[in-house]
């Protein structure tokens, strides 16, 4: 069944920026934990007569996100009004972007050593700027509205339908999260709601070139934990319908993380007609070449480039380079530690081992890290007298294995190494152990 059908998945990802103020007013954008309706003004409450003025920094940050996803930053852009009625939308429209977003046509290539196969590329359709809605909470017989979150800057990233599995989506999202955190523009935390995923899912017969005539948008996936599960559930649900000869309905479905199912929220019949038009309150934007170049130049070295450099220049193993570059702080610390330990003739790969396997904290002061690292590596120096004594003992106790090794079964030697290491209580270098063992045999 799995092979008969191929999922076709495109994503809409929303990322809340952590600017100081909101998108269209100077209210404090950090609403987390604030008392309800205390980070508000006439603008973000949609009071009669209030007018929006865009936050320049938010636009710059959004353009950096666009550039980091290899998009083209557009020379001309504008804000549009997107209309729909819901109590969390104070103006009856959301200020968003329609046909002239700030960034278009990008691509993200993910090389994740934990995922089998080649590096994968996913096309980015567009990245645009908009504002967040107010927060609704449902308690007892009331739905309560708090406008602290209203108009916090929100970046929307739209991909092409380039994903064919939930794993791919998860891998992409993780990469996206890492990139955004590198830029320092958002926490991109799904659990806290600063990163939100809305996949558009459909399923086609494998090998069929055309896209399915419907798609289902899934909302309310509020945690990384549920990304795979929600998508897999929805794909299976659609396959069951297709098997019955039905075409799944085009609709919006919600994910229920208690029941672990998707459920219908809005059908095609109530499809929204957002009546976009250019917001007359906000003059258009134009960006010259220099500005756009500066945006590009402001980007830090991004994870794929850094990973490649760690591999090529520092000769770190791929998987370790991947792990070390998942977080900019860790990567920077690693490089500093390498520099400091170079004098001690300690290779970057050893530093990587200390961070990844020995879990020496990268929050330590660098000098403390250096001295502890030296200690850890020194402890590895093997007590040769003890080693020879233990090897003799192991050979004596395991005549059959010794015979196997001598008979040509090379892999059996690892059993002996394990036994020796056990007797050495780990205080021995594995390479030395193997070499000495071979000599003795």
């Amino acid at each position: 069944m799995e092979k008969k059908y191929t999922p076709v998945i495109g994503l809409e990802v929303h990322v809340e920026l952590k600017t100081k103020s909101k998108m269209f007013c100077q209210c404090d954008a950090n609403y987390f934990g604030a008392k309800p309706n205390t980070h508000v003004c006439p603008v973000c409450m949609g009071m009669p007569g209030a007018l929006p003025v865009p936050n320049k920094t938010a636009i710059e940050w959004m353009q950096r996100v666009g550039k980091a996803l290899n998009c083209t930053i557009t020379a001309n852009s504008k804000f549009d009004r997107k209309h729909y009625s819901y109590p969390d939308l104070p103006k009856g429209y959301q200020i968003s972007q329609y046909d002239e977003p700030f960034a278009v046509k990008g691509k993200v290539t993910v090389k994740n050593p934990y995922v089998k196969g080649e590096a994968k590329s996913f096309r980015i359709t567009r990245v645009h700027m908009e504002e967040d809605t107010a927060k609704l909470s449902h308690e007892g017989s009331n739905t309560l509205v708090d406008f602290n979150r209203s108009s916090v800057p929100l970046v929307e990233i739209v991909t092409e339908p380039d994903f064919s599995s939930a794993e791919d989506v998860k891998m992409f999202l993780e990469e996206l999260q890492v990139i955004i955190r590198y830029l320092g523009v958002s926490d991109a935390d799904m659990e806290k709601g600063s990163m939100r995923l809305e996949p558009n899912i459909s399923v086609m017969k494998t090998g069929l070139g055309t896209l399915p005539p419907y798609k289902v948008e899934v909302k309310n996936i509020n945690s990384f934990r549920f990304v795979k599960e929600a998508i897999e559930y929805e794909v299976k649900r659609q396959i069951v319908l297709l098997e019955k000869g039905e075409t799944p309905k085009q609709e919006t479905r919600g994910y229920d993380d208690v029941k672990r199912i998707t459920y219908s929220q809005r059908s095609k019949e109530d499809a929204q007609d957002y009546r976009y038009f250019p917001d007359p309150d906000i003059p258009p934007f134009a960006f010259d070449e220099k500005y756009r170049r500066d945006i590009e130049n402001s980007l830090p070295e991004l994870p794929p480039a850094k990973m490649e450099r760690f591999e090529k220049e520092l000769k770190v193993k791929e998987v370790d380079a991947f792990i070390l570059t998942r977080d900019l702080g860790t990567a920077d610390y690693f490089e500093k530690a390498c520099k400091a330990l170079k004098a001690e003739k300690i290779e970057p790969q050893s530093v990587a081992n200390i961070i990844i396997n020995k879990r020496l904290l990268t929050s330590l002061k660098l000098e403390d890290f250096v001295s502890k690292a030296k200690g850890l590596l020194a402890a590895k120096k093997t007590d040769t007298a003890l080693l020879e004594k233990n090897i003799a003992e192991v050979i004596k106790q395991n005549p059959q294995v010794v015979a196997d090794v001598k008979g040509g079964k090379q892999s059996a030697i690892m059993f002996l190494v394990g036994q020796v290491m056990k007797m050495m209580k780990g205080q021995a270098d594995a390479k030395t152990v193997i070499q000495t063992l071979k000599e003795k045999l």
Binding site: C41, G140, T143, L144
Partner: protein, 100 residues
């Protein structure tokens, strides 16, 4: 081609739903015909050639109007001010009947 009387009840209902307005049957009829009348009237713009004309979004010759990021309290409302015009306030929030 005349659009007169071409707005069906369903079309008017669809528009009223988008516009978040609840209309009576009499209103649906009235606006249906007035809409058609107006749509007919404004068709005279078709007499003007505009193929090569750029649309005007704004009559002011301004661009890139924005503010530098930073919080400011000039316009901030106190919680009391923010809630002062709400009809139903529960737990310092605007309350609706339960909608979900």
């Amino acid at each position: 081609m005349s659009t007169k009387n071409m707005l069906s009840k369903d079309e008017v209902l669809h528009l009223s739903k988008l516009a978040n307005l609840t209309l009576s049957d009499a209103e649906i009829k009235k606006y249906g015909s007035q809409l058609a009348e107006t749509i007919d009237y404004v068709k005279n713009l078709d007499e003007l050639k505009t193929e090569k004309v750029a649309p005007t979004n704004s009559v002011v010759d301004l661009s890139n109007v924005s503010f530098e990021d930073g919080t400011e309290n000039t316009r901030g409302l106190s919680q009391q001010e923010a809630l002062s015009n709400g009809k139903t306030i529960v737990d310092n929030s605007f309350s609706l009947g339960r909608i979900m």
